[in-house]
């Protein structure tokens, strides 16, 4: 079953099309990585899917319904959650308060406390619960951001460079967490540069170039593609 579909999705900034007639189809239960060189439109595409940006043209369908003009907060309520590229945690609140604000939409009282503890445990921040989010290390902020994103129990989790700034060990643990989430039924779309991470989590990758899908398939097949190799070095043929 197709959970998410983008049809001819376009985002222009002035005369520049950051995302240009993008067609993308994600099956329920899938882990899809979007890869491509810098400026390919990956993060913009993710922001369009999450509703942080509104499209200039084209349409987005989630679970059969068009959501192109649905506000970001309503998309979140429908089950789309995003982890941003730069951590967007609540800096002046403690780690626990960050999670409380995210989880209090669904839980109350002692159940809320339980869920906060479970999430802290899951993202390995139990020892940091009283610290202000702004004093956390970059990697810890990334994990807290992860905690915020998964607190909504999303059906579709959008990850924008989830391992940026993480150590190899943290990256591997993030991969394990993503796989565990996926096994529980969460569909994942991740923008990522770290091929080790991509190899760990994804069966299918989409290569974006000039704002549209350039190539799609298994990671090894895609990376073996001579045209894909060229776009990483800026030699690919331009779309008409």
């Amino acid at each position: 079953m197709t959970l998410l579909r983008a049809r001819q999705l376009t985002k222009r900034f002035g005369g520049h099309a950051a995302v240009d007639r993008l067609d993308l189809s994600i099956e329920a239960g899938e882990i899809r990585c979007l890869i491509g060189p810098n400026g390919a439109g990956k993060s913009t595409a993710l922001a369009l899917l999450a509703g942080s940006l509104s499209p200039s043209a084209g349409a987005i369908y989630f679970d059969g319904s068009e959501i192109s003009n649905v506000a970001a907060h309503d998309r979140a309520k429908r089950g789309i959650s995003i982890k941003f590229q730069l951590p967007s945690v609540f800096p002046e609140l403690s780690v626990r308060q960050n999670l409380k604000i995210a989880l209090s939409r669904r839980y109350l009282g002692s159940e809320l406390d339980d869920r906060i503890d479970e999430t802290l445990d899951l993202v390995e921040l139990s020892d940091q619960r009283g610290k202000l989010a702004r004093v956390l290390s970059h990697g810890q902020k990334q994990w807290l951001e992860f905690g915020l994103a998964i607190s909504l129990k999303p059906r579709l989790l959008l990850l924008d460079e989830p391992t940026a700034g993480m150590t190899p060990e943290e990256t591997e643990r993030t991969g394990e967490l993503v796989l565990r989430l996926n096994r529980s039924g969460v569909t994942v779309v991740a923008v990522e540069h770290d091929m080790q991470f991509v190899r760990q989590i994804a069966r299918t990758v989409s290569v974006l170039h000039l704002g549209t899908v350039f190539s799609e398939g298994r990671l090894n097949d895609v990376l073996a593609n001579e045209d894909v190799k060229k776009i990483y070095f800026g030699e690919a043929p331009r779309h008409g």
Binding site: A71, K77, I82, L93, A102, R105, R115, A149
Partner: protein
């Protein structure tokens, strides 16, 4: 009911546990005792201080909690005061009509705040532009009302009076056994004390509820708040209307207290005052409530005893206070007391291991 009362304490308010509530009870009892024992001038003077507390609490709510710094508090103060003055002048005091005038004035404030808030927040204005827009509205209203001198500027029997404003409207009254009892002097003071306490407690509950969580989320990161499913514009709008209605409440109580309202209550200096009270006190509700009364008392004492140096002395005290305690004098003080008192907040509690498997719970 118990779950509501539990919200009196929480992450969004300072103060928890017996020591804090004991201190607040003492403060409340002391204020009541003052009303019984002090002279009538001192009591009326304190009523004047209390009148402004609602406006300051409203600003602490929308600014401290939601991050919206509004210069419009005095505009809504003026709307509340003028509406009460016009309605009560026309209707008189019979059959509790002053109370009806007060309620209608609040409704007018809520409506005007909703209209302004709608265009501001749903029109995409945010950050410092909200402050500039609300300041423009305040000054525009002051300018307009200042030129309403003469008989042509009258609504029924109420002449708007230009710079002089409206005076001699009736005070608040309540019908009692066929008579109308004026709420002035000590009765006004006791009424205000109880009303301030109720407003303070209600705001604490609101701040620690889901509404408060949403406002804090929007203040800290609108992008993340939206991604968590919070409707940022609607939340900013609600905070603005609640804060503005409290400013309007101050306005109508001021008109009822002094039976006078004029455009200078909406001038630039007047618009800056609530911001100074909240900034110097700290944006917490308790700090603002206590700090506003203390700062008003200090300002008045300096005006009486400080001759021509009063304003300079006050400015100096405010600057030193803000430099010494950037988070507010009273908030800093309260946090110190809180760290000695309460049972400790949940930020530092030991990790409880749930019987449920963590992946089972979350995934």
């Amino acid at each position: 009911m118990r779950s509501v009362l539990r919200l009196l304490e929480g992450d969004q308010t300072i103060g928890r546990g017996l020591p804090f509530w004991g201190l607040m009870s003492l403060l409340f009892a002391g204020a009541l005792a003052f009303g019984v024992t002090a002279g009538s001038f001192a009591v009326e003077n304190c009523s004047y201080f209390l009148v402004w507390v609602f406006m300051a609490l409203g600003l602490a709510f929308m600014w401290g909690l939601g991050g919206t710094m509004s210069f419009g508090q005095t505009a809504f103060f003026g709307i509340g005061g003028y509406c009460y003055a016009i309605l009560s002048t026309n209707w008189g005091v019979e059959s509790g009509l002053t109370m009806a005038a007060a309620l209608l004035s609040l409704a007018a404030v809520a409506l005007s705040a909703a209209v302004l808030g709608y265009f501001v927040f749903f029109g995409g204005i945010n950050g410092v532009l909200v402050s500039i827009t609300t300041l423009a509205v305040t000054l525009g209203l002051e300018t307009f009302l200042s030129q309403t001198a003469g008989p042509k500027w009258a609504i029924g029997r109420a002449e708007l009076g230009g710079f002089n404003g409206i005076s001699s409207m009736p005070p608040l009254t309540v019908p009692w056994h066929g008579d109308n009892v004026e709420i002035t002097g000590r009765s006004l003071y006791f009424g205000l004390i109880i009303f301030v306490a109720i407003t303070y407690l209600a705001l604490r509950i609101l701040a620690n509820s889901k509404v408060g969580d949403a406002m804090v989320a929007v203040r800290e990161s609108p992008l993340r708040a939206e991604a968590l499913g919070y409707d940022v514009k609607a939340i900013l709008f609600v905070g603005f209307v609640v804060g503005s209605v409290l400013a309007g409440l101050s306005g109508l109580l001021y008109a009822g207290w002094g039976q006078y309202i004029s455009p200078d209550t909406m001038g630039l200096s007047a618009a800056a005052l609530p911001i100074i009270w909240v900034a110097v006190s700290g944006k917490d509700l308790t700090a603002t409530m206590v700090g506003t009364v203390v700062l008003l008392g200090l300002s008045q004492a300096l005006a009486i005893y400080g001759s021509q140096y009063a304003l300079v002395s006050l400015a100096l005290i405010l600057v030193v206070s803000i430099m010494g305690c950037p988070k507010g004098v009273f908030e800093t003080l309260l946090r110190r007391i809180d760290s000695i008192g309460g049972p400790g907040d949940q930020n530092s509690k030991p990790v409880r291991k749930s019987s449920l498997d963590r992946s089972e719970v979350l995934l």
